[in-house]
Symmetry: C2
Subunit: 358 residues, 2 copies
C-alpha cells in the first residue's frame, strides 16, 4: 500500500482517546493502526513520562561511557512498545499507582540490553536508521554496557519488591538468552523447521512481551487467570510482531522505517520467509538458499533473487498470515477483561503490529 | 620461590581443621596457604557438594549449546573461591541451613557470566590453561551464554526470596558492569591513576567478593554491623586478590598456574605494576610504556623489558605490598566475630591470596 492511498479515517480517531476505531477498510488499515499506537501512548502519557524519567535516572553512572552509550540507544527512540504494554496492561486491570512505571522502565532496560548484545552478535551497522552502538563505541563497550543495563533492570525489579514480579522477569530474561543461543545454533541452517523457528522467536522476542504484560496484572493484584491471560496476550503479540519484522526485512517498506533491507539475508539468518521458500522450492532453489544462507556466498543480485523466490511462493504473504493467526489469539486472550479504553487500545496495537506487514 | 624450597610446615596444618597456622617463615608461606584453601573447602564440603549440584542443575537447558559451553567453563574448575566465601561466611555467622548453597551457586553463576564476557572483551585464548569458550565456540555464543548464566543467577536469587539478598547481589552486578566499562575506558591509558585503577578493581573483582561474603551474614539474620563487617572483609580481600593477580600476570609463577604470562601487557591493560613503573620511570621509560601499551606496538623483547623495568622499580613487589595492606583490612574486619573454625579459615584465605604473590 502506498502512503497516498492511506486512510481517510484518520480524522475519526484524532483526539478521541476513548473511541475504539476498528479500521477494517483495506485502505484504512495502515494509518488507523499508527493512530492506535499514538492512542495507546496518549492513554498512558503521564506514566510514560515517568518511565522516561526513570530510564534517564537509572542509566546514569560515574563511568561516563555508560550514559553516553546507553543514551544513544535509548534516545534513538523506538516506540517504547514494551513499556507501553506494561503501563496499559496495569491500567486495564485497574491499577493506577506508581509501580507500573518502574517495571516498565525495567522492561525497557532488559530490551535495550538485549539490543546491544544482538547488534554485537549480528554485527549490525545500523539500528533504527542510525549507526549502532557497536559501530560507534565498539563491541566491547556494547557487551559491557549491555551487562550494566541488564543489572540495572534487576535493580529496578528489586526496588519494586514483589517476588512474583521478580520471578516473571528473571524467568523471561533466561528464556530470552536461551532463544538467542538457539537462534545462533539455527543460524545458517536452511533445514530449520518452522517449529524450531517458533521456539527461537518465543524466546528472543515474545517472552519479554509476555512478561511485560503479565506484570501489569500482578501489580494490579488481579487473579491468576488474568495474569495468565495477559501472559498469553503478550506472548502471541510478540510472536506476531517478530514474524512481521522478519517479513519486513525483505520488504521495500522497511526502508521507510530507517532500516536496511536484507540484513537477515546477509547474515544468513533463517527466518520464516526463508524456511517456507526452502520448503516450497525445487532442488535448484534449495541450492540457491544453501549457497547464500548456509555458505553465505552472496553476490549483488542474490538478495533480489531471494525476494523473487519469496514472492513466487507467497512466503512473505504467508508469514504475515501466520502472524495474523497469533494476533488473533492475542486479541481473544483479552476476552475475559471488561471493556475499557486500555483494552481497546491494546487490541488496536495487535492490529498495528500485523498491519505493518501489509 | 621454587617448589622444592617449599614448606616443612605442611605437616603442622594437615588435618588440623581448627588450628590457625600462621605461617610467617618465608619458606613456609606458600604451601601453608594452599592448605588454607583446602581447609576452607573441607570445612564446608557438604554445602559445596550441594553448590556443585545446583550449578549442574541450573545450567541445563533444552538448547544444547548452553550446557556444553557453560559446562566447559564451570568444569574447568577454578577454586570456587567466591562460593566458598558465601558458605564460610554463613557458617561463621552460625547459619547451617540450605539457603547458603543456593546463593553460593548464584554468586558462581554471576562470576562465570562475567568470565565469559571478559574473555570476549579481552580476546583471551586461554582460561585456566585450557582453550577459552570464545575460542572454542566463538564470541557470539560466549556473549549469549553469559547472558543466560547471568539470568540464571537472578533466578536463583529470586528463589531465595530475600529482598535484602536481591538488593546486595543486583547492586553488585551493576557495580561489576560499571567496573568493566571503566576498565575498558582506562585501557591503553598509561596516565591512569592508582586511585582510578582501584575503582576499576573494586568494580570488576571486589564487589562480588563483598556481596558473596555479605549475603552470608544476611541469611544468618545477623545484625547490620556484621553484614557490613563481611562486606568490608570481602571488598578488601577482593582488592588484594586482584592486585596479586595483576602482579602474577608478569610473574614466572603464573605459568605454573596454567596461565599465560603477559596477557595484560599484550592487551595494553593498565594495571598497578604498570602504573607504578610509569610513575617511577624516566622519560625514555615512559616512552616505552606509551609505545607498548598505548599504541600497542610491541615486539618479541618488549615483555621481557617491561618485567625488567618493573623489577628495577620494585613495582611487582610493591603491588604485593599494596595487596597486603588490603589483606590486613580484611583480616581486621573479622575482629567483631567470635573465634571459630570458619573465621580462622577465612583469615587463612586472606593469607593464601596475598602469598600467591610471593
Amino acid at each position: 500500500m502506498l502512503a497516498e492511498e492511506r486512510n481517510p479515517l484518520k480524522v475519526l480517531s484524532l483526539g478521541s482517546r476513548n473511541v475504539a476505531v476498528i479500521v477494517n477498510l483495506e485502505t484504512g488499515r495502515d494509518k488507523g493502526s499508527e493512530d492506535a499506537l499514538d492512542r495507546l501512548t496518549h492513554l498512558v502519557s503521564g506514566d510514560l513520562a515517568q518511565v522516561n524519567q526513570l530510564i534517564l535516572q537509572h542509566m546514569q553512572s560515574d563511568v561516563q561511557l555508560i550514559p553516553q552509550l546507553a543514551g544513544h540507544i535509548i534516545a534513538a527512540g523506538g516506540k517504547r512498545l514494551r513499556p507501553l504494554l506494561t503501563l496499559a496492561s496495569a491500567r486495564m486491570c485497574g491499577y493506577h499507582g506508581p509501580r507500573a512505571a518502574g517495571l516498565a522502565a525495567c522492561v525497557e532496560f532488559i530490551h535495550t540490553a538485549t539490543l546491544l548484545h544482538d547488534d554485537v552478535v549480528d554485527e549490525s551497522a545500523l539500528r533504527r536508521g542510525e549507526a549502532s552502538a557497536n559501530v560507534l563505541w565498539g563491541n566491547k563497550a556494547s557487551v559491557l554496557v549491555g551487562d550494566f543495563l541488564f543489572s540495572r533492570a534487576f535493580q529496578l525489579m528489586v526496588q519494586d519488591g514483589s517476588l512474583r514480579v521478580l520471578e516473571i522477569l528473571s524467568g523471561a530474561s533466561a528464556v530470552i538468552a536461551e532463544g538467542e543461543v538457539l537462534q545462533l545454533m539455527t543460524s545458517n541452517d536452511t533445514t530449520t523447521t518452522e517449529q524450531a523457528y517458533l521456539e527461537v522467536i518465543k524466546g528472543k522476542t515474545a517472552a519479554l512481551f509476555a512478561a511485560a504484560c503479565e506484570v501489569g496484572a500482578v501489580v494490579a493484584d488481579r487473579p491468576k487467570v488474568e495474569q495468565q491471560a495477559l501472559d498469553t496476550f503478550g506472548l502471541n503479540l510478540g510472536i506476531a510482531f517478530q514474524l512481521i519484522d522478519d517479513a519486513l526485512d525483505y520488504s521495500a517498506r522497511q526502508e521507510a522505517l530507517g532500516k536496511t533491507v536484507g540484513d537477515d539475508f546477509r547474515e544468513g539468518k533463517i527466518t520464516l520467509p526463508v524456511i517456507l521458500a526452502y520448503l516450497r522450492g525445487d532442488a535448484e532453489e534449495r541450492g540457491f538458499w544453501q549457497r547464500t544462507l548456509e555458505k553465505v556466498e552472496q553476490d549483488e543480485a542474490d538478495l533480489r533473487h531471494a525476494i523473487q523466490l519469496m514472492e513466487r511462493h507467497g512466503t512473505l504473504k504467508d508469514t504475515v498470515n501466520r502472524a495474523a493467526h497469533y494476533g488473533a489469539i492475542a486479541r481473544d486472550a483479552l476476552g475475559i477483561f471488561p471493556d475499557n479504553a486500555e483494552k481497546r487500545a491494546l487490541i488496536d496495537v495487535v492490529d498495528f503490529c500485523i498491519q505493518r506487514g501489509f
